[in-house]
């Protein structure tokens, strides 16, 4: 899926750059996600993938421009972006380990305020996708398995009713079967119209779902490819070690 001339992308960043001290972790980078599109960012360790996501969600200071649904959101802070519907599942899940599953989920719907009926609708949607979370509602998040924690992290993000879901390596540390299960759920969500931006090390899994791929290496976008253009891993590898 591409954005035709005149169409507004869901999110577009241009010349986004970020550094840690004197080290430029992300050099001026531009990318976009079209409405309802599934985009994957691939790249080796240290390529700047997490930095890119953190810069996009204003978790770290950055330069460049960000627009969301055609609106310039460069000056907004993380919580404002979340209220607009840009929700990120961070690397390592970012759960509140000492809270219960239910408390974590309710925090996902934080921006909703007090609307109980809508809250119930969102709970029902999350429990339908991840029935295990309903069974574990009263359990402390830290006491769950890695796979269940990742389900909770995604479920909590869905409680915010996102317009764009950003995920940073959701399969990290998970058994292949569990990782595949979670990524399949993301595919279903995308089919239902949710825009997804996924950073993933497990390229084969990610490529099955994504419509478009950005390859990041040494802080630069080395390539932008349609997934159907990628015939073999060699097509990607040559960008990895540019």
């Amino acid at each position: 899926m591409t954005v035709a001339a005149g169409d507004t992308p869901l999110i577009a960043v241009s010349d986004l750059a970020a550094s840690y001290g004197h080290v430029a972790a992300l050099k001026p980078t531009s990318l976009y996600v079209a409405p309802g599109e599934f985009v994957t960012i691939l790249g080796p360790n240290g390529a700047g993938k997490t930095t890119l996501l953190r810069a996009m969600t204003r978790l770290i200071a950055s330069s460049g421009r960000i627009s969301f649904n055609g609106r310039d959101v460069t000056g907004l802070r993380t919580h404002d972006l979340a209220k607009l519907g840009i929700i990120m599942v961070q690397e390592g899940r970012g759960l509140f380990g000492e809270m219960t599953v239910q408390e974590n989920l309710s925090l996902g719907a934080y921006s909703l305020g007090g609307s109980s009926a809508e809250l119930e609708r969102r709970y029902a949607k999350v429990f339908e996708l991840f029935p295990r979370l309903r069974e574990r509602a009263g359990q402390i998040a830290a006491s769950m398995s890695g796979g269940e924690q990742q389900m909770l992290a995604v479920g909590r993000a869905l409680m915010a009713d996102p317009k764009l879901l950003i995920l940073d390596e959701p399969s990290l540390g998970l058994a292949p079967r569990v990782a595949s299960e979670i990524l399949s759920t993301l595919g279903e969500l995308n089919k239902a119209g949710l825009g997804i931006l996924l950073v993933e090390q497990k390229a084969p899994l990610a490529l099955k779902l994504a419509q478009r791929v950005y390859v990041l290496s040494s802080g630069y976008v080395r390539a932008e490819l349609q997934t159907h253009e990628i015939k073999s891993h060699h097509d990607l590898a040559r960008y990895y070690f540019h």
Partner: protein, 327 residues
């Protein structure tokens, strides 16, 4: 699952032998103190006041996970506010207490707005400076605070014609006020507001990514802590009848930190448990004479080593050990 079952996230209170035993021990202690009276009544009065202070401190340090070494400043505002209003202007004690709480809340808002932009050690140092500045003001601004002389003759707590003169009755009033403070603390902790605070404590970035406005919530927690501290300062003034700069000095910071960590920082009941235990322990070791401080410090160290999450976590610790043995 019903609507209520899904949205309710209240913390459970599990009854087991440790909890029941602890509650019974506290009840017995209070009964004995009421019957025999004497010095222990005063010790428990102060424990209740410190408990109120620690409940507030727990909002900022426990629930929100921030460091503040300057809450004594707001206790000083409460203490001096109530002393000045009652002694110089003959206000009703209850009214003076409430006005002082409002003043402390506004002061926390004004001071907290720029200060809470700092994080970690920088925030701790800034709040520490706040406590030191307040101490200096209470010493130097003699026309307002009477310097080292302090304020004497502060009337006991009361409303209209009713004043609480009897020491046992004072203790009852303080217990009731502490329980009200505890109830508010628990209600807020289990609310949407409380969950947001605990999310900030868990991960500021994680909380912000969910739409939580970090700076606003930190400020709210700081103000709540200040209001509790002010109430404690005012209650101290009305209970003891005298205040001086030393009452709200560095010693108060050390004592309240000890109470909070002994009881369990971030827990609902920890601040109260810590206040009672840390107030009574020195009295337990009084008979050891010059070894009193050493014995007190040794017991505190043992507590921190064997119950690092505080005494309020003791029941959970015993439960999990039993489960391991049975498993």
């Amino acid at each position: 699952m019903t609507s209520h079952a899904i949205t309710s996230t209240k913390a459970g209170f599990k009854l087991d032998s440790v909890t029941v035993g602890s509650v019974l021990a506290v009840l017995l202690l209070f009964c004995a103190v009421f019957i025999y009276g004497g010095y222990l009544v005063t010790v428990l009065q102060l424990a209740m006041i410190y408990g109120i202070f620690c409940l507030g401190l727990n909002f900022f340090m426990g629930y929100t996970g921030q460091a503040s070494f300057g809450q004594n400043a707001f206790a000083a505002i409460g203490g001096y506010g109530t002393a000045i209003l009652c002694v110089q202007y003959e206000w009703e004690p209850a009214l003076a207490l409430m006005v002082s709480m409002v003043v402390a809340g506004v002061a926390a808002l004004v001071v907290g707005y720029p200060t809470l932009r700092l994080r970690g050690h920088y925030l701790a140092m800034a709040t520490f400076a706040l406590g030191l500045i307040t101490y200096d003001i209470s010493v130097q601004w003699t026309s307002l605070t009477q310097g080292y002389m302090g304020y004497a003759g502060i009337p006991p707590l009361g409303i209209g014609p009713f004043t609480v003169e009897d020491e046992r009755l004072k203790l009852v009033c303080l217990i009731v006020l502490l329980l009200i403070g505890l109830w508010i603390s628990q209600r807020l902790r289990d609310s949407r507001f409380g969950r947001a605070l605990r999310a900030i404590s868990g991960s500021e970035n994680g909380a912000a990514a969910l739409g939580i406005r970090i700076s606003r919530y930190k400020l709210a927690a700081f103000v709540i802590a200040a209001v509790y501290a002010s109430a404690a300062g005012s209650l101290f003034a009305h209970t003891v009848g005298f205040i001086s700069p030393e009452v709200f000095g560095l010693q108060m910071v050390v004592v309240t930190f000890t109470m909070l960590y002994v009881g369990g920082v971030g827990t609902v009941y920890g601040p109260v448990i810590g206040a009672i235990v840390a107030s009574l322990l020195p009295e337990v070791f009084r008979s050891t004479g010059r070894f009193q401080d050493i014995a007190y410090a040794a017991v505190l160290l043992l507590m921190l080593i064997f119950v690092p999450k505080g005494l309020s976590a003791l029941a959970g610790l015993v439960r999990s050990r039993r489960a391991k043995q049975e498993g």
